[in-house]
Symmetry: C2
Subunit: 204 residues, 2 copies
Amino acid sequence: MSSNATDMLTVTQAAEARRSIRKYEPAPIPRADLEEILRVTGLAPSPWNLQPWRFVIVEDADTKAKLQAAAYGQPQVGAAPAVIVMYSDMTNTLETIEETIHPGMPDHAKAATDIRTTFANMSENDRHAWGFAEANIALGFLLLTAQAHGYSTSSMLGFVPDTVKTLLDLPADARIPALIAIGRGAEDGFPHHRHGLERIARFV
Amino acid sequence: MSSNATDMLTVTQAAEARRSIRKYEPAPIPRADLEEILRVTGLAPSPWNLQPWRFVIVEDADTKAKLQAAAYGQPQVGAAPAVIVMYSDMTNTLETIEETIHPGMPDHAKAATDIRTTFANMSENDRHAWGFAEANIALGFLLLTAQAHGYSTSSMLGFVPDTVKTLLDLPADARIPALIAIGRGAEDGFPHHRHGLERIARFV
């Protein structure tokens, strides 16, 4: 299978084409495509450029079977050629701030101290919730980017986090926004049925 | 000013072009463009199709000045022709489940009961955190969609939530992922400086 690591859809086309897909063609995804999708995902906005998101891409059949068990047996985990486990890791993020501070910042040492102080003043839960929220924004990027490259996805919230962490050797304090099944879709999925804008938006 | 409510960028182009922009041209955004950006945002994935996100689009100068004060005076709130206050509202979402259940579902009454039971078994905080996470995914959609339509954004986390809620008459239990300044950018912004993929992704 050849790689096609350029996308083909506008943002609107990708949003309209995206469905939650549970059936997939079994062919593996070219590594270059997965890498490109994750590279673009990593361009999501990030206050202080912290980029707290991390990814484990599960393609190994045995590991995928164990992941499926941790996801209450959801069939798309087994059916998709790859499942991306996305998580936020604020501990690693804050330990390695020096890697992420933007070169355009005038005083890197002061910036690192200021950022660490800001997070030290939060509760541990709030600190991890902060990274989790940022990772969810990036998840929006991931789903659109995959679709634009011709890949369907299913973003799953049903799983046992501690089992997933143990299986993949993730940090105990990682937060997992979703498991994302990804591959060439083998079903159409449900058409969108969404609120009209007048129901959810107000102009003042 | 004419509206141009079709987007022009692929997902990758939009992700690469997006920067956090603090200076804007003052011209108002055509209503059709704002509506189209929010329509596409509303296509974000949503378990059970619940769509817990809501939007107040602030264009009125006086209200925008008060919003800027609630956002610690951040200049982009005043500079942008519009600021989108995005929030999740799980109370309204759960009260009106019947509006969102997909027509393809076989038994709407049972589905509504099952969903309400699931959320009733969560703590109040977890329930609102769930809606907040979903809204953050949609925020990723919003930022890419705006960029694809030629609009720059700045997604701001620095604000006093209770003051924003009072100003805009939002529900007390709303959760606000961000205030989003939007308009035609009048600066270039910082170029991206991101982790290499080998730093944040692992294949198994």
